[in-house]
Symmetry: C2
Subunit: 219 residues, 2 copies
DNA sequence: CCGTCAGGTTAACGCCGTCAATCTGACGAT
DNA sequence: ATCGTCAGATTGACGGCGTTAACCTGACGG
């Protein structure tokens, strides 16, 4: 139970241990409110106020934990897009990886994305998505301002992830990955077409037009 | 400062006053964690434990406050859809009203939709959306299982609302209502087309196909 | 051998949600 | 008129929380 004390210069060691304990406890308890500084300190084998040696307050500790996950997400997205020639297809893979990652780290995702204030975390990730969208604009798959397009696409992916996480009681399909694919595909196609339309309106024969278009893509 | 005591049979009066005070404080402070039972009781002019006469705990009080807002949302959505002939167009209006409402009641929306557990609130609303989607399937605008389609569409609307609320520092367009319209339109069109496609793939000339389709709809 | 100072600890404060025990006063029965 | 009753509301307290100030400790350079 008793920790060996760190030598001078090893100040960061305790920081890492606290981060690890906090991450484990956060996942175990399932929410940030249920996480206690006393519990974190206890698991680390250290007194409670020692946490304040490395983190200004509880808020910053939790944020630091979740930022770790965020870094890994960006890494995975770049990895998923690598080696795919068509930028539009690569963007779709990114979307899938994004949602999947959120589902695999629900607590961290909620902390980072479903609270007010801490928006700085997502900024770097947003930059990467804008890049990917820009490539699609260059290739002709999308039209318009990459930043605005990226916001729309991100909101679609985020909606899918967020709803799956916070509303597990909804009648979700059994095959979640297929549903995620459908959603990403829906957002991609919808953005591609909407970005080409000069104005929104309902045509009398819109269903027939859609049928014809789908036939050509299917056949 | 001193409240007049309620007569027997007036037990619900205090309940209403507490609800009102809690709602006001929740909006003022901007988050549920910042809301204090002591503050609620104080504003109502009553002692703290009196809250427990009408609510089992803090959780249920907050939930009751937010459920009020939810009821109004469903009312507004029905109102918006009323008198619109085309079901697909009506569905789009519902989506816009949904996102607008979320933005107008950000705290309540977050409490109800961005936390785990309390999923029962949205179930009724979900039923209404499935109805609206079913009408679109009947009219031929959409194809497939209404429930699954509804989940996808809802996730798009929710993503837009949720991201706007929790990430205000993003570079959102100035005209928010136009952006909401674009997002809703994107989701609707995307779902309509994706529901017609037998399989997902990238065609070499997909951009050209999209251009041609858009030209016919634009012209 | 001794100060110094990074790396901790102890004790406490104020606030929180919650609960058991208590008070109060209007009203029906006598 | 009075008295018991019981819904309506209060008092006081408990344990746990985040956070802070003050204090301890032991390895290392001089």
């Amino acid at each position: 139970m008793k920790r060996v004390r760190a030598n001078p210069g090893e100040g960061t060691r305790l920081r890492e241990e606290i981060l690890a304990a906090a991450e484990a406890l956060l996942v175990e308890r399932g929410s940030e409110e249920a996480l206690t500084l006393r519990a974190v300190a206890g698991r680390t084998g250290v007194s409670t106020p020692s946490v304040y040696l490395h983190f200004a307050d509880k808020e910053q500790l939790i944020e630091a934990v979740c930022l770790r996950a965020w870094d890994e997400l960006e890494r995975r997205m770049r990895e998923a897009a690598q080696g795919i020639d068509d930028p539009f297809w690569a963007l779709g893979r990114c979307g899938h990886v994004y949602v999947r990652f959120a589902l695999d780290h629900p607590v961290q995702y909620r902390v980072l994305m479903m609270r007010q204030g801490s928006g700085s975390a997502a900024t770097a990730c947003f930059g990467y998505i804008v890049e990917a969208v820009s490539a699609c604009v260059t290739s002709g798959a999308l039209r318009g301002d990459p930043q605005t397009l990226a916001l729309g696409l991100w909101s679609a992916a985020h909606g899918c992830a967020s709803l799956l996480i916070s509303q597990p009681s909804f009648p979700w399909p059994d095959d979640l990955d297929a549903f995620i694919d459908d959603t990403v595909w829906m957002a991609g196609l919808g953005t591609a077409i909407a970005s080409r339309l000069s104005r929104r309106r309902v045509l009398p024969g819109v269903a027939a037009e859609l049928d014809a278009f789908a036939d050509r893509l299917n056949g």
